[in-house]
């Protein structure tokens, strides 16, 4: 674990309010995750890796963009670890960096269709950009 990773791990824990040490490694979060197939690192791995300080890998993972924020893992975690908060915190670590927005306004027009609700655009910006 590099010094930067250690710092980031602390920051992730702080802003998410998640204590990864509460995890009993039952895997229920990953068992319940509807986006599991689309993820490279899965919810339970986020918990373990933040604990271990393997942050660089998480920052580069595609999981932070595929988490659906459906809160199934938050609802069902038997020990109230709430991995979705951790994933969001990692995502924030990325997009809060200068110029690191995942979604840019110029990309929008080609993604639009006639019926697409505003909400989809607003939420995408909230989730992927700062």
């Amino acid at each position: 674990m590099s010094f930067e990773e250690k710092e980031m791990a602390e920051n992730i824990k702080r802003i998410s309010g998640v204590n990864p040490r509460k995890c009993m490694k039952c895997g229920k979060c990953s068992g319940t995750c509807p986006a599991y197939e689309e993820m490279d690192y899965h919810p339970h791995e986020f918990v373990a890796m933040v604990e271990k300080g393997r942050i660089d890998e998480l920052l580069a993972s595609k999981s932070i963009w595929t988490c659906l924020s459906c809160f199934a893992c938050v609802e069902r975690c038997p020990r109230s670890v709430e991995p979705a908060k951790l994933i969001e915190a990692v995502r924030l670590e990325v997009i809060r960096a200068q110029g690191a927005n995942h979604l840019k306004a110029v990309q929008i027009p080609e993604l639009l269709d006639e019926k697409l609700p505003q909400q989809a655009i607003v939420s995408a910006f909230r989730k992927y950009s700062k």
């Binding site: 490694k25 895997g27 229920k28 068992g31 319940t32 069902r76 020990r79 109230s80």
Partner: protein
């Protein structure tokens, strides 16, 4: 002036590592009244105790202060020590410099300073101690066992075999408890009924045992050796003395669609029923809520058919009062309510069952006569998923924080039995850990995996979705690092177990303590595991913590041994730290009487000398029945004039302690 000796214990390094014991002894020596102070490695050891006894003799000590572990640990030990040296056992005070000092402080200076204060507080108190003599009280040679499951039955049989009377009070119509509902037992796979029912019969036939079934303890008063319990015998509307248990009534009863509790609602029973064939007592009971006669006044079929004339629709609840020397709590457990965990769809599909329900579905006397069939459509299930730790090992907001202990083993048993009987059935077990500490337990689990081909998957199920007659199970396989999806026919949930709901009220009734999960607290987790901190109350079985059958039986017998030890005594030494009244100061105002929970205070008119020409006057003053007083002290604060005081915790002593702390 007292001659006080102070003995500072190192407790190996437990105290000495954080507290400068020599400095404590040194400081104590300077306190008024102290004529001797020393330190030693283990004060509670024989050598340590000898040191105390010798010092008492050599220095003619009249009071002793031990600075050591909590008085809850060794006060009794040291009382015996000083008594052996000819001192009154109550001329001793213990300064708790371990649990309340060395173990909680890291800074040596700070801990030593505090230890000195605690020592001088104990010295200040012991300076005001006076010799006390405990009164004696007789022991009623009969035990009450609350709960008639395997724990209660075993305790009762052992106590009765030692020659003492035992009453078992069971709230259900039959004794036997949860074990009657279990099909086979791990790790030997013997049939539960085959090993339990003979014990039930033994209990029923034992001349020293009285079974009060369908009864509840409603009130307990008194204290060790002399408890008094009020027992409610609920109306069963069948005369227990007349009923022969022939079952004729149950075959004729027209109210047939009532949930059968014995089979956990998986089938129905009649309104008049005998819980199961081997029930003890084998006596019918009418469930008033579903009895047509009780509800509408019309019917009366069972009464007509009963050859013994045992049916009595007018029967009322009865109360009896009995006296006991000891009380055994054996109130057992229940699986938790699963409504909170509906991601497993327990309330959405009848094919999601608890493990206890599965026991009934596999039992020859169960609703399916022992053939494993799906509750929804009665078909044979081909894929069964077991989910472990449902509601166990959760954080406080989500469920029970403890491990329910029995689930790993009974699930291995279920999986094995299913694979043996129905080899075409796939069995998957989702687990977090497999916990098998016990004789032949891990071997048993390995057999399930290796010989019977049970598929153990390390990971939890996240969601069970009932769809199209199937149960779609989605979970984690942490070893393979993949999400697994299984189309199951049945899902079996290892529901956490919790103490019976009655535990809380019974604990209150007995003034025995329970923990945050409602399990009864033992007097000491290691050294006194079957006794409650309340004298005369003993713990048997799961009411104290999750246990399997062998452990329960072992604990039940241990508990019985403790009860026998108590009942074998003719007299008990009481607690001499009781209230006493200074009649010179008593106003006779009856305030103390009102707050006494034991009715230990009465009033009488007495003649007193008074200054002035009249010399004497008659005054109403309180008097304390020392055999009944338990020494709580409620009266001492209610008393305005300070006439009421507690021996051993006297006002003056507490003032001295406060002064010593604040000095």
């Amino acid at each position: 002036m007292q001659r006080i000796g102070v003995f500072v214990c190192w407790c190996g390094t437990n105290i000495a590592a954080t507290v400068d014991v020599k400095a404590v002894a040194e400081a104590a020596r300077k306190e008024p009244g102290v004529v001797f102070a020393t330190d030693y490695q283990y004060m509670c050891s024989e050598a340590g105790q000898k040191l105390i006894r010798d010092a008492i003799a050599e220095h003619k000590l009249t009071g002793v202060v031990i600075c050591s572990c909590s008085p809850r640990m060794h006060e009794a030990t040291f009382r015996k020590t000083v008594e052996a040296a000819g001192l009154n056992p109550y001329m001793l005070e213990v300064a708790n410099i371990r649990e309340q000092c060395s173990w909680i402080h890291k800074d040596r200076t700070e801990a030593t300073e505090k230890a000195v204060v605690l020592a001088r507080t104990a010295i200040a108190k012991v300076s005001l101690n006076v010799p006390l003599t405990a009164g004696e009280s007789p022991v009623t040679k009969r035990a009450l066992v609350i709960g008639g499951g395997i724990a209660g039955i075993q305790s009762a049989l052992d106590i009765a075999d030692a020659g003492y009377e035992v009453d078992i009070v069971e709230k259900q119509p039959t004794i036997g408890g949860k074990m009657t509902q279990i099909d086979k037992t791990f790790p030997t796979l013997d049939c539960a009924a085959c090993i339990l029912t003979p014990k039930m019969v033994d209990a029923a036939q034992h001349e020293k045992i009285t079974i009060y079934s369908y009864s509840e303890v409603t009130e307990v008063t008194g204290f060790v050796g002399a408890f008094k319990a009020r027992i409610k015998r609920k109306a069963r509307f069948v005369d227990e003395t007349k009923c022969t248990g022939c079952g004729e009534c149950t075959s004729k009863c027209p109210s047939k669609k009532n949930k059968n509790e014995f089979n956990l609602g998986l089938d129905n029973r009649t309104a008049i029923y005998i819980p199961f064939a081997q029930a003890v007592p084998k006596v019918a009971v009418i469930d008033a809520e579903s009895c047509i006669k009780k509800k509408t006044g019309k019917c009366g079929l069972c009464q007509k058919i009963c050859g013994a004339g045992a049916i009595d629709y007018e029967q009322k609840d009865e109360y009896i009062e009995r006296e006991y020397g000891a009380i055994v709590v054996a109130t057992g457990y229940n699986p938790i309510d699963l409504a909170k965990y509906d991601e497993y769809a327990y309330s959405q599909s009848p094919d999601v069952v608890t493990s206890l329900e599965l026991e009934r579905l596999m039992n020859a006397a169960g609703p399916t006569k022992g053939t494993l069939l799906r509750p929804s459509d009665g078909t044979h299930p081909h894929t069964i998923v077991f989910i472990q730790c449902v509601g166990s090992r959760c954080d406080d907001a989500r469920g029970k924080p403890y491990c329910s202990k029995i689930c790993c083993m009974y699930t291995a048993k279920h999986a094995m039995l299913i694979r043996e009987k129905y080899p075409d059935t796939e069995v998957h077990v989702f687990y977090i850990d497999v916990r098998t500490p016990g004789k032949n337990f891990d071997e048993f689990y390995r057999r399930a995996v290796e010989q019977y081909g049970v598929d153990y998957i390390k990971g939890m199920v996240g969601k069970v979705v009932p769809h199209d007659g199937k149960l779609l199970v989605q979970g984690s396989d942490l070893i393979a690092n993949e999400q697994v999806r299984i189309e199951a026919d049945m899902v079996v949930l290892a529901a956490a177990i919790e103490p019976d709901k009655s535990a809380r009220s019974i604990a209150t009734m007995l003034t025995a303590s329970i923990d945050t999960n409602d399990f009864f607290t033992e007097a000491h987790p290691k050294l006194r595991p079957v006794e409650s901190p309340t004298a005369g109350v003993f713990l048997s079985g799961v009411c104290q913590g999750p246990k399997d059958i062998p452990e329960t039986v072992a604990q039940a017998s241990a508990c019985a041994a403790k009860v026998i030890g108590l009942l074998a005594k003719d007299k008990l030494k009481g607690n001499p730290c009781v209230a006493h009244v200074n009649e010179e100061m008593c106003n006779g105002c009856s305030t103390c009487e009102k707050v006494c929970p034991y009715g230990a205070i009465t009033y009488q008119d007495k003649e007193f000398r008074v200054p002035g020409p009249k010399r004497t006057e008659i005054r109403r003053v309180a008097s304390v029945n020392e055999a009944v007083c338990q020494g709580c002290g409620a009266c001492t604060v209610a008393c305005m004039s300070g006439a009421m005081d507690i021996k051993g915790f006297a006002n003056k002593q507490i003032f001295a302690e406060v002064d010593a702390i604040c000095r």
